[in-house]
């Protein structure tokens, strides 16, 4: 058999592939935040009544808040199983930059939660009678926002991975950092619903994503070293 190419055998792709396979084998864990997102939003028209004017007004905010909570729900498992079975130690001591392996894990996390959330959102927008002009804004803002949330959330997950019950702590650490994303994300959709330009909000979300992309993997890698060391 031929030796695999250097690119295919790099630890980034190996970790990426392994985690993707794991995500698909643990379907329950992957579906949990998506089902939460779906159910929570389905409840809203049932609770508030089907008045189109009311739903239209709250739809951007509701979808964004629920997407944020669904992401939060999925964070704890990001490094948990690796920590429990010893794979995290092996990742730490591998002759490969930890930042890149962490990046691979975050990428899988986003593919398994952020991307499906983004794809589901327009469907739920219809349910909340979101105006047609806002659908593109909803998709773009969630695409940028969920990626930033996966990155920032990884730092919280890395900091709390050695604690037995880190769930509450993650929310406390990560929530303040999610708030700007929520504000600009929801605002983008709201503005688009009114038929106005939402470039500014998207630009801010993009800038946030760029900063998170630069700093979050570094911070998460550092936090993992501290967590495993303890």
């Amino acid at each position: 058999m031929v030796k695999s190419s250097p690119l295919a055998s790099s630890l980034f792709w190996a970790t990426f592939k392994r985690d993707l396979v794991l995500a698909f084998r643990h379907k329950g864990d992957m579906l949990n935040p998506l089902v939460f997102f779906l159910i929570a939003i389905t409840m809203i028209p049932l609770a508030l009544g089907p008045e189109k004017a009311v739903l239209m007004r709250i739809a951007p905010g509701i979808i964004w808040v629920m997407a944020l909570l669904a992401t939060l729900l999925s964070l704890d498992s990001l490094f948990r199983s690796d920590f429990d079975d010893g794979s995290l130690e092996q990742l730490l001591i591998a002759p490969y930059p930890l930042t890149l392996s962490v990046m691979a894990k975050i990428l899988v996390h986003w593919l398994a939660t952020g991307l499906p959330l983004t794809l589901m959102a327009p469907l739920l927008g219809v349910m909340l009678s979101l105006p047609a002009s806002a659908f593109a804004a909803l998709c773009y803002s969630l695409l940028l926002g969920t990626a930033a949330m996966s990155l920032i959330g990884a730092v919280g997950a890395a900091l709390t991975v050695s604690l037995r019950k880190g769930g509450v702590l993650i929310s406390l650490i990560v929530m303040p950092l999610y708030i700007p994303i929520l504000i600009f994300g929801a605002s983008a959709v709201q503005t688009a619903a009114l038929g106005e330009a939402y470039n500014m909000q998207l630009a801010v979300l993009g800038a946030g994503l760029a900063i998170a992309l630069l700093l979050a993997p570094l911070a998460a890698a550092g936090a993992l070293r501290v967590s495993v060391n303890a």
Binding site: M1, K3, S4, E89, Q90, L92, I93, A94
Partner: protein, 225 residues
């Protein structure tokens, strides 16, 4: 034995956990072609020492040298030459043994699948390549982790209780593998509560480096790190 090059050297290594010194003034040199069993009762710091040697834990005093260079400067070379098998085996139960090994193969830059399958056969897991690991027994799971030794190109093996859950023939096979690695010029650092049957086995007893309360007081003035 002394003619063999020094691979790892510990100078004045001390480790404190929960305001208690596990061991102190640990000076030791480990040579190529050596199998060293680290001894000590439960809680004496065997696992902690191995985690320090593996680079997982950096929370210690003193200096470690890899081929006469400080570990801080030679971290990359050391990581390339190290195989650490911890107390936790690092095996994903949802994956198959082959998928697990593929990840470890990527750590050392890629190994052909055929070699991985042969490695699994060497630990008596032929035919289990595609069985999910959660279907395997504890001993078989340990064997999956030990299959890493078969295709490893690392010089230093740091093994924490590798004999756990292995049956008699598994223990004998592992002993033979450790002896073969030493004969190849490798270094094996291993903890175990059993007697290990390997020629020229050396011992490092952590009780010799335990710190009592009195010497601790004099030590607090001593500069570490």
């Amino acid at each position: 034995m002394t003619a063999a090059p020094v691979l790892l050297e510990l100078r004045n290594v001390a480790c404190e956990r929960d305001e208690r010194f596990l061991f102190g003034q640990l000076n030791a040199s480990f040579y190529a072609a050596q199998v060293v069993q680290i001894l000590g009762p439960n809680g004496s710091g065997k696992t902690t020492l191995l985690r320090i040697l593996a680079g997982v834990s950096k929370d210690f005093y003193g200096d470690i040298f890899w081929q006469s260079r400080p570990l801080k400067d030679a971290a990359w070379e050391y990581a390339n030459d190290l195989l650490y098998l911890g107390h936790l085996p690092g095996i994903k139960k949802t994956l198959t043994p082959l998928e697990n090994l593929r990840w470890y193969a990527a750590v050392q830059g890629g190994v052909a699948d055929a070699d991985l399958i042969r490695s699994l056969a060497e630990v008596q897991l032929a035919g289990y390549e595609d069985t999910p690991c959660y279907r395997l027994s504890a001993g078989q799971l340990r064997r999956v982790a030990l299959a890493r030794l078969a295709f490893s190109n690392a010089k230093v093996w740091v093994l924490d209780e590798p004999f756990t859950a292995l049956d008699k023939s598994g223990v004998a096979e592992l002993e033979a593998r450790l002896a073969a690695h030493a004969a190849d010029g490798g270094l094996v650092l291993v903890t175990s509560h059993q007697d290990i049957n390997v020629p020229d086995l050396q011992w490092l007893n952590l009780l010799d480096f335990s710190v009592d309360a009195q010497s601790l007081n004099s030590r607090e003035d001593a500069p570490y790190g």
